[in-house]
Symmetry: C2
Subunit: 454 residues, 2 copies
Amino acid sequence: MSEPLRYLLNDDEVPTAWYNLVADLPAPPPPALHPGTLQPAGPDDFAPLFPMELIMQEVTTDRYVDIPGEVMDVYRLWRATPLHRARRLEAALGTPARIYYKYEGTSPAGSHKPNTAVPQAYYNAAAGVRKLTTETGAGQWGTALAFACQMFGLECEVWQVRASYDQKPYRRAMMQAFGAEVHPSPSDATEYGRSLLAADPDNPGSLGIAISEAVEVAAQDPEIRYALGSVLNHVLMHQTIIGEEALLQMAKAGDTPDLIIGCTGGGSNFAGLSFPFLREKLAGNMAPVVRAVEPAACPSLTRGVYAYDFGDTAGTTPLMKMHTLGHDFIPDPIHAGGLRYHGMSPLISHVYELGLIEAEAINQTDCFAAGVQFARTEGIVPAPEPTHALAATIAEALACRETGEEKVILTALCGHGMLDMAAYDRYFEGEMVDYDYPVEQVEAALSRIPQVPA
Amino acid sequence: MSEPLRYLLNDDEVPTAWYNLVADLPAPPPPALHPGTLQPAGPDDFAPLFPMELIMQEVTTDRYVDIPGEVMDVYRLWRATPLHRARRLEAALGTPARIYYKYEGTSPAGSHKPNTAVPQAYYNAAAGVRKLTTETGAGQWGTALAFACQMFGLECEVWQVRASYDQKPYRRAMMQAFGAEVHPSPSDATEYGRSLLAADPDNPGSLGIAISEAVEVAAQDPEIRYALGSVLNHVLMHQTIIGEEALLQMAKAGDTPDLIIGCTGGGSNFAGLSFPFLREKLAGNMAPVVRAVEPAACPSLTRGVYAYDFGDTAGTTPLMKMHTLGHDFIPDPIHAGGLRYHGMSPLISHVYELGLIEAEAINQTDCFAAGVQFARTEGIVPAPEPTHALAATIAEALACRETGEEKVILTALCGHGMLDMAAYDRYFEGEMVDYDYPVEQVEAALSRIPQVPA
């Protein structure tokens, strides 16, 4: 076994532009709508929350956007990330498939999130913003933004879902190590938070509540802006650095993917790896099947409706056309906190409607079984989120063992699980449960999405 | 700032031999002694615990030992590790010094420990051993050995100091993710453990107790052997892959170190980085000052005596001549659990006596302050152990700001702190304390070391 296990890139090989899939789609994605007028939302509707550079990236139809040198200088702290060939996993599975994984866990936050946190902090700093606010669940996004703000001299204030704040002190300490101020949400630092605490001092919080608090603070002060870690077009575009690197690395490996698999919550990691390959597919240069894997407890693509809905639970954002389970649907507490989002990125939803990608949903115990098998062969303990992609990858590889097909599978290992070991602990103790798909709760939530005339 | 931030090596540049400093020293280190006869210990004295290949590496005077291909094939999962230039830290300090750090946190265990765990597992598997036993404190070494055993089909049984077992479930879960069986120590799985529990069911354990349990199990079954994560010659030699890579990477950077700084507990990380540079120093090719930094609470080099002593608390190992605070000295509970060892590697102790290296001791709150400054500039949260080296590095760099000296400093960042965030939490909460050097406890412990005629 002396074949390469990793494919790296030299500094001068790292791509210097993000890719915008919108430029190559056969039809443009539906626009966001102002929730009051139901007319297409313009830049001014986003201006209280985001700097103009990011708003223009949100709506651009340019194929590429150059990565600023200041952003590259931070990316180069950990980029390019390695592309691994999973030879030991292949051997353990006895499969003729060739499995590659693009590993984002070598970043400062341990996940792909800094890929967008860094440019968001940069553009805000360039616009004279003093502080960024955001929400976080388990803490991956909050950690990434805290780090990014530190790189550009910005303050960072994070609202973390109280249940996670109390149960996962390690992630909170990481955010503090990177200089952020962290509140449990609901907090007494906002009007909305105080109203919730007055009604229920023990409110455990939710991502939607935390978003509302972070947005409330940002909207009140022109020196403060808000940052979102997934869902939006500009966030997905920043993540395409993953796929652009992987294209170069797969070429070094001398292989072309037949199947690309990524997990989806809001969709940024999946888009980051797959969109540059979709460009090549649309151009006829390769023909990979591209598959999104979501948790069975929160299956927005496979079970949700494609409709205009709010991005947050309180219903304060512009309306976005996306696959949704209803903006006030609260997913069961699976351990892949990063996948517990009621909707799917509008751009990914659109690509799914166009038939360019497929989707499946998997239960978390199957995902953790895959994660443990991966750890014991490849030496990396995956975060709960990418175990969804690994479970699908292993199933495909085992199918290849039956058929003899030498399928080339590329998957997105978007982060390590070192700060998620409590979830593994529950798995080993036999205390991890799967959740039935909550048909009634979703139907109820869907009955409350806004009615938008076709 | 478009200069390189990281220096990588291609697969074909990774060194394929470990370096044995003993071959180049002006005098050989004193031999280990049999504790009963006080005669030099021979291979047979170690045979119940280690396979013959490792015993021969322990005593060899060969300059290089080839790394087996099977070991290289595991190393290549993460090696070469990156050498970073700390440009952002330099800028924050306003120093003309050039700071480099060799980062071992990208390994499966998040530290340098797999560098020796992997060959130890390999040689044991080759000798027909079925299971390895070991002790672990915070869990870094246990995690590394669990991973390594998985790579070669060995079982792994770990005794973890009970206080850590209870307080740090994440590391325990990491070991389980890598397939190990983990006991809290003292345990009811050994005679020694049961005797301690009978006397005190709440015994919090110590590294010395855990060693005794792991050794007891290994000594009773020819299919079971024991593995040690530091201190011994062969362990230090396995770690020299760090320094061999760093030599090549410093050459790529076009710099030669004036000062090399590493933290020391048992000494394996420090030796791993510095020994290949000491070879170059002894050959007259460079002239770096080489400095070991130890915790003020456990200062074996700067405050201990140089004498024959036991490696474990129970007094069952061969006697080794080393800097020691007494084999039954129990260090205060500083957060750098990996540096809480009563002695120093005999080979490092010998090198210190020869005047080839220097040493200093630093308090943990100063170390954590350095760790936070490092995290906020370089984006990596360091483990508590290497914050000792970082504190000394930052102090040197600040001195250079005064003198204007463009000193080239190379330091060993032997692991990340993602599983040590509880310690950072205490630091941020202002609850971290420093400990006075325990003069009386050390004097008492030193009064109990064995009397060996000169």
